[in-house]
């Protein structure tokens, strides 16, 4: 575990969307986490749980109107909530950067790749045009785009999905940011390309001491890349643990449910997946108890009534936090073998493809 001062500290972050005549929606509620240099954390959860809103709030990219952000986000000790637009703009791209889900729509279709890469360099670094395009060639080369000089002249629609995501990663890493947020960077790509992109992120980001926040719903991605995992549900973190711990001994019934929904390589033929019952819509407000209670097999009467706090997991060391009154007991997951099996399946699955074709 890296011990140096964290690059990013998020404390009690809350985001509320309000519209005239509608009850405000709290998309993110009291989220806290931190990332150290070279560390990778995963924010995991299903659609609508607030992971993307969290990342946009950190980057200061939420629209100014109709959104209230509170709490504290510090980048290298500098407070970002309430910072001026000017300061945020200078930090974005230079000290913190983001890679988005859809590489095609994240690139401007009317500009050549080269223009878009050099744009970032010209904005944040003291380079002239010539130096910037030389640097752009270098960047594309580093993210594994063959024949970079030629690719710079091409337009986004001429590149494959994987190439586009590589180009976007090149743009994000152009100024060697301290923090990179990757919002489902592999979701729009096919499986072999996914593995390559993850490998690339591992190489370029983790190797250089950049802090990486990986936002994903894919447990395979988490297993292959993240050091620490925060599982989110309905805007709150419900469990956070070190990766191996989480896979081996999930404590929150929701985490357990997620792990059981992943197909396993060692499962018998015809074995069925165990889905989480209900849908993400079947939640209750956190103020009335545990939001997951309506879908939870472990739920009991005391899950309702008041907010369940996020506390250090009594069964484990100080490193694990849990928001649950009736957590899964290790035995219930199947005496260790089942949970470990899922971890193996997930790690093995992504590991196999990640080290497979390479590029």
């Amino acid at each position: 575990m890296p011990t140096s001062a964290p690059v990013l500290e998020v404390e009690d972050l809350a985001v509320t969307f309000s519209r005239k005549g509608e009850t405000p929606t709290r998309a993110v509620d009291g989220v806290s986490f931190s990332v150290a240099p070279g560390e990778t954390i995963g924010l995991v959860g299903e659609s609508g749980c607030g992971k993307s809103v969290t990342s946009l709030a950190v980057m200061g990219l939420l629209p100014p109107r109709g959104v209230r952000v509170s709490g504290s986000v510090r980048l290298d000790g500098q407070e970002l909530i309430g910072a001026s637009d000017r300061m945020l703009r200078r930090l974005r791209g230079a000290d913190m950067a983001m890679v988005f889900q859809d590489p095609l729509s994240s690139l401007n279709p009317t500009l050549a790749i080269g223009t878009q890469v050099t744009e970032v360099l010209l904005e944040h670094r003291d380079l002239d045009r010539k130096q910037a395009s030389a640097e752009a060639v270098d960047l594309l080369d580093r993210v594994g785009i063959p024949d970079p000089g030629r690719r710079l002249k091409e337009y986004p629609h001429q590149l494959s999905g994987g190439m586009r995501q590589r180009a976007l990663i090149a743009m994000a890493l152009a100024c060697s940011p301290r923090l990179l947020i990757a919002d489902e960077p592999t979701t729009a790509l096919d499986v072999t390309i996914q593995a390559q992109i993850l490998e690339l992120l591992r190489e370029l980001v983790v190797g250089s001491g950049t802090a990486l926040v990986m936002i994903t719903h894919d447990l395979g991605v988490v297993a292959g890349l993240c050091d620490r995992v925060h599982v989110m549900y309905a805007g709150k973190i419900i469990e956070s643990a070190e990766r191996h711990e989480l896979f081996a001994r999930p404590r929150h019934p929701y985490t357990g449910g997620l792990l059981h929904s992943v197909p396993r390589l060692d499962a018998g033929r015809g074995a069925r997946l165990t889905p989480i019952r209900g849908s993400a819509r079947d939640t209750i407000p956190w103020s009335q108890g545990c939001a997951f209670a309506p879908r939870c097999d472990n739920a009991e009467d005391d899950c309702l009534g008041d907010t369940v706090p996020l506390e250090v997991d009594p069964a484990y060391g100080t490193d694990r936090e849990l928001r649950c009154r009736h957590p899964l007991q290790p035995a219930r997951v199947g005496a260790g073998t089942s949970g470990a099996g899922v971890a193996r399946a997930a790690t093995g699955g992504s590991g196999a493809t990640a080290s497979g074709p390479g590029r």
Partner: protein
């Protein structure tokens, strides 16, 4: 075994290398270039383009192409009540009620119509885009003020507006152009604002913001280039409208008073009185107006499709 495995690997490497390579001639195919490439293969677009080009050439070389002087009067002795001379040697379409060669007048008239159409559309696009950019880039109260102003313009019927403006500015061809331009402004302003607002929230605009690109650069470098294609299309279509509107205003007597510059609308107006004895005097200018308008419309429609990203391959 090893050799087989190696061969396989070599083959895969080769395929991968091929997949990475781009066929020559494909490098740097921008949106506009791929649009033109598609237009070139589209017969309807070609017909539209040919019509437009033919009229442009005729307009450009009118003095050379016209067989006679468009304002000189001929065959006056043969014009009497109830009879205007028709086609004959030297006058392929006959003469008008004042003995002027119809063909030469049509050829010279193309200059006036196209000039008014192009200039008024350019003026309209420039003013409309300025308003559109203001509204689309700033949003908020600037957007509200600009768009309410545009709504007011839009609520006045375009012909009525043009008549008002040309009355206010006096009767000359510049007033005519400005009058027509004013009626085009709201269309372009609304169009550009709408597409800019849509593009402002797009993924690449957010991505550019996430990279710290400055707001002015996002508006002019990213949002605007992606928003102009509907404006380009509408401008082509508006050329047709402008030509028709110019003809309509001339027909109503609000056109260019200078008789040295024949104009299709004015020709149509003066032919009106002789519809029963020589209908061709009215038919020919009308056909010219319709065909030019059709040419621009065909081109504009196909341009819309060619520039639409949904049709891209």
């Amino acid at each position: 075994m090893t050799s087989l495995g190696e061969r396989k690997r070599d083959r895969i490497d080769m395929l991968a290398a091929q997949a990475g390579a781009v066929p020559t001639g494909e490098v740097g195919l921008s949106l506009t270039r791929s649009a033109f490439r598609r237009l070139r293969r589209d017969p309807v677009a070609i017909i539209g383009a040919v019509i437009v080009v033919v009229f442009l050439v005729v307009a450009a070389f009118a003095p050379l192409l016209a067989p006679k002087d468009p304002i000189a009067q001929y065959l006056l002795s043969e014009i009497r009540p109830g009879s205007i001379p028709g086609a004959r040697e030297g006058f392929p379409l006959g003469v008008d009620n004042l003995g002027r060669d119809l063909l030469s007048r049509l050829i010279h008239g193309s200059r006036q119509s196209l000039l008014i159409g192009v200039v008024s559309t350019v003026l309209g696009v420039a003013a409309g885009m300025t308003l559109g950019i203001l509204a689309g880039a700033f949003g908020g109260w600037v957007d509200t003020v600009v768009m309410r102003f545009v709504d007011i313009l839009l609520s006045i019927p375009s012909l009525l507006m043009a008549i008002t403006v040309s009355v206010l500015l006096g009767q000359n061809q510049w007033a005519l152009m400005i009058a027509i331009a004013v009626t085009q402004v709201p269309i372009f302003a609304r169009l550009l604002r709408g597409s800019m607002l849509a593009q402002r929230g797009s993924d690449y605009a957010v991505a550019a913001r996430a990279l710290g690109v400055r707001p002015a650069r996002i508006v002019f470098g990213h949002v605007l280039p992606n928003s102009v294609s509907p404006v380009i299309v509408q401008a082509t279509l508006s050329l047709a409208t402008a030509i028709i509107e110019a003809a309509a205003l001339s027909f109503l007597g609000l056109g260019d008073p200078d008789i040295a510059r024949p104009e299709w609308g004015a020709m149509l107006a003066s032919a009106q009185a002789y519809l029963s004895i020589r209908p061709w005097l009215a038919v020919w200018p009308a056909v010219c107006i319709i065909v030019v308008a059709l040419g621009f419309t065909l081109l504009g429609e196909r341009l819309r499709e060619a520039l639409d990203p949904k049709f891209r391959r």
